[in-house]
């Protein structure tokens, strides 16, 4: 009985505490809202990019602020849940956010982005690489700070064809996420444009398959080993797949999307070689642009660790391009900022040029550095930009 009384009291207190009001807004501040994951598995992607964004905000504030005002970041945890994502979006909007920054994945960031769109504010996906993260999936005020997955697939196949004389490709798709499908869609679009290139075969697996023995058997039973395998996959299943491919004695080049960037997993596949990944900037300290290496050092000073993968960088680019658009538009009003962003053509940023148009608020072409891993050591060997932009209609129709 006392337990129930205590429960009732507890319940009433809980209900009352849940109604607390939100803080007030200062006049000389521009509020940037981060409706990102601070818990749940998306935190592993959101937090690094968020830290990079905060570094850029700090740089701008130290240089005098944006339009003379300090940028104030506010945060709301989406807990890697769609319903919570919408609430997180509303929570930052209620704190006066002029820009809502949302999770790295379309499915998890869309709910907060839709709230921002409905409120007439600009939303930016931290590093979403699906075409939906922008106009088609949210609305006219939504953008993404990263480069489309399809560009990664197209870049690797064109580079391997041109620089490494690869002529036969094998397409191995992990059908788990739209990101993976996006990489292979880009590959499918590029392949007919490569003269004399052939598709030796195609197969699919699921990210949580413990064994891809049957897929490997089919590769090994081809009359000739393919020159390259286009592996459209991401963590965590990518590691097991790569390990099994090499353990079976398949020596083909393995071409990937950016999702496998990073050396943190390479202990699981010792002495990995002939393995290529496209990145927007190098986390290994050998980026051709010395400013990137300086940024890596600053990131380490601020967060205590090196950037784990290239997915840190789009966070920095996000604040960079948005702040430039705000300066040019002389306002934080969505219509003005969006108009300035849509004028950007090959706008230089620390991690490659960015172009936005009124048809696409994402990158359907991008400069990628090619990272080659030999004997388990990754290093930048080349740079590539695909020769044509991938058409928006093709991407949306997939």
């Amino acid at each position: 009985m006392r337990f129930i009384k205590a429960l009732r009291l507890f319940g009433i207190l809980a209900g009352v505490s849940a109604l607390w009001l939100t803080p007030a807004l200062a006049a000389n501040e521009i509020v940037v809202g981060f409706a990102t994951a601070a818990s749940g598995f998306m935190q592993a992607y959101d937090k690094p990019a968020q830290d990079a964004a905060l570094i850029r905000i700090d740089e701008i504030n130290k240089a005098g602020g944006l339009l003379g005002k300090t940028i104030k970041p506010v945060f709301a945890d989406t807990k890697t849940d769609q319903a919570e994502g919408a609430k997180a979006g509303l929570a930052v909007l209620d704190q006066g956010a002029d820009l809502v920054i949302v999770s790295c994945d379309y499915d998890f960031g869309a709910s907060a982005a839709l709230q921002a769109q409905a409120a007439g504010k600009v939303s930016f996906f931290l590093c979403a690489e699906s075409i939906k993260a922008g106009i088609p999936g949210v609305g006219p005020f939504s953008f993404s700070a990263s480069v489309l997955a399809a560009v990664q697939g197209a870049t690797m196949s064109e580079w391997a064809y041109t620089k490494k004389n690869v002529r036969s490709f094998y397409r191995l798709l992990d059908s788990w996420t739209v990101y993976n499908k996006g990489i292979c869609d880009g590959f499918d679009w590029m392949l007919p444009r490569l003269k004399d290139a052939t598709l030796a075969g195609s197969d699919t697996f699921k990210n949580d398959d413990a064994s891809i023995a049957s897929q490997i058997t089919r590769i090994k039973s081809l009359p000739k080993e393919p020159d390259a395998i286009m592996l459209c996959t991401m963590m965590p299943g990518a590691v097991a797949a790569i390990k099994q491919i090499r353990a079976a004695g398949i020596k083909s080049m393995i071409l990937n999307g950016s999702g496998v960037d990073g050396s943190y997993w390479m202990n699981a596949v010792p002495d990995l070689s002939n393995f290529y990944v496209p990145v927007q900037g190098s986390v290994y300290g050998d980026d051709p642009n010395p400013k990137v290496n300086e940024f890596n050092k600053k990131y380490k000073d601020v967060t205590g660790g090196d950037p784990s993968s290239q997915y840190v960088y789009p966070g920095y680019v996000l604040i960079d391009v948005w702040a430039k658009a705000v300066e040019r538009a002389k306002t934080t009003e969505a219509a003005g900022v969006v108009a300035e962003l849509e004028k950007m053509t090959n706008e230089p940023t620390l991690f490659g040029p960015r172009t936005f148009t009124k048809d696409i608020h994402h990158q359907n072409q991008g400069r990628y550095l090619i990272v080659d891993t030999e004997a388990g050591k990754p290093k930048v060997v080349d740079e590539w930009t695909i020769s044509q932009k991938i058409p928006v209609d093709y991407l949306i129709s997939k």
Partner: protein
């Protein structure tokens, strides 16, 4: 023979109390709550619909069902097909028939249709599943959840596959949420006091005696299955309007276990239990989320580490069930002492069969 008052007159105080209390919550939330808090309130009302629908089946038949969230999925996607503007549908859902691609219905029309669609599906599937008893039925409903989830995750041209589909008009607010919860409570209540509901409860408590008295157990279970599917289908439709995006992953294991735990914590065999379980858990979850966000004392923000909310809810659920194994309401219904001729909705009889539930 003297005319005794009808069952409805004797027991109607329970749903009235529940609906009035929820109305008070809705009003408080609308008046004093921030926009984010109002969304929590709407989520709570939708959860009430789901758990009340689950109670309509689980509480009356005694069979634990893991598959009811599949009806939420069916309802949500049917609303998506009906309510998304044709321009957006034609781009991403090319496999839909042409008449469906060109239709756009308002929420008031699409929601009952979605509920009816889920009920129809339950009618077809239930004819087979309801012949099973005990744990076999529960595992089969689990299989149903798996099948629906797999079909919806992979039929890309019709459901958008594992990616989310957007574009459902965001027309939900606290009052519509309350209306949905009230509709669910009224439906479950009317079913419980009906002849079919009574027969099913008889079969739950003593299957052999009920069958010997002429109760067609399979038919009664099927009725409960269809009624609960309708309620949960409605909940799915409102959820789609609430979130504006649907994704098969939101209607799978996590939602199933949250709904079941809310029902068990509240009291599996009572309507008041279903509602109390949801309200109690929702309040606790919100409290812990606020604690995670932190309370500012002076210049500092003191808060629980992220992720503490899920752990705390788990511990609290265990503690509640240790001290109150039949749930918060102990399987009784709310009633008002001043109500004349009061009689509660019947609670389960203690029988030897109870251990198998």
């Amino acid at each position: 023979m003297s005319r005794s008052p009808s069952v409805i007159r004797q027991t109607i105080v329970t749903p009235i109390i529940l609906i009035v209390v929820l109305l008070a919550m809705a009003a408080l939330s609308y008046q004093f709550g921030s926009r984010a808090f109002n969304r929590t309130a709407i989520e709570m009302f939708i959860n009430i619909m789901v758990v009340v629908g689950l109670y309509a089946f689980v509480g009356n038949s005694g069979l634990l069902s893991f598959g009811h969230i599949s009806f939420m999925c069916l309802g949500a996607y049917m609303t998506a097909w009906l309510a998304i503007p044709p321009v957006m549908k034609s781009m991403t859902l090319k496999g839909l028939p042409a008449w469906l691609l060109h239709t756009q219905l308002p929420m008031w029309v699409a929601t009952p249709i979605s509920g009816a669609f889920a009920a129809l599906f339950a009618l077809i599937v239930g004819r087979i599943i309801m012949r099973l008893s005990g744990i076999a039925a529960s595992i089969t409903t689990f299989g149903l959840l798996g099948v629906v989830n797999n079909v919806y995750s992979n039929w890309d041209s019709v459901t958008g596959g594992q990616g989310s589909i957007v574009g459902i008009p965001p027309t939900m607010n606290v009052w519509i949420g309350w209306l949905g919860a009230a509709a669910a409570i009224v439906t479950a209540y009317l079913y419980s006091v009906s002849r079919s509901g009574l027969a099913l409860r008889a079969a739950r408590d003593e299957a052999v005696a009920a069958s010997a008295s002429g109760v067609d157990i399979v038919r009664e279970r099927l009725v409960a299955f269809v009624v609960s599917a309708f309620i949960i289908g409605l909940a799915g439709a409102l959820y789609a309007h609430f979130l504006s995006i649907v994704n098969p992953g939101s209607f799978y294991l996590r939602t199933t276990f949250i709904a079941l735990s809310m029902l068990v914590v509240g009291g599996m065999y009572s309507l008041s239990g279903a509602v109390s379980g949801v309200v109690a858990m929702s309040v606790l979850i919100e409290l812990f989320r606020n604690l995670e966000r932190g309370i500012s004392l002076g210049g500092f923000t003191v808060g629980l580490p992220n992720g503490a909310q899920e752990i705390a809810i788990g511990i609290i659920t265990i503690v509640i069930l240790i001290y109150l194994p039949s749930g918060l309401t102990r399987n009784r219904e709310f009633s008002w002492r001043g109500w004349p001729l009061q009689r509660r909705l019947a609670q389960p009889v203690q029988t030897a069969l109870k251990e198998t539930n």
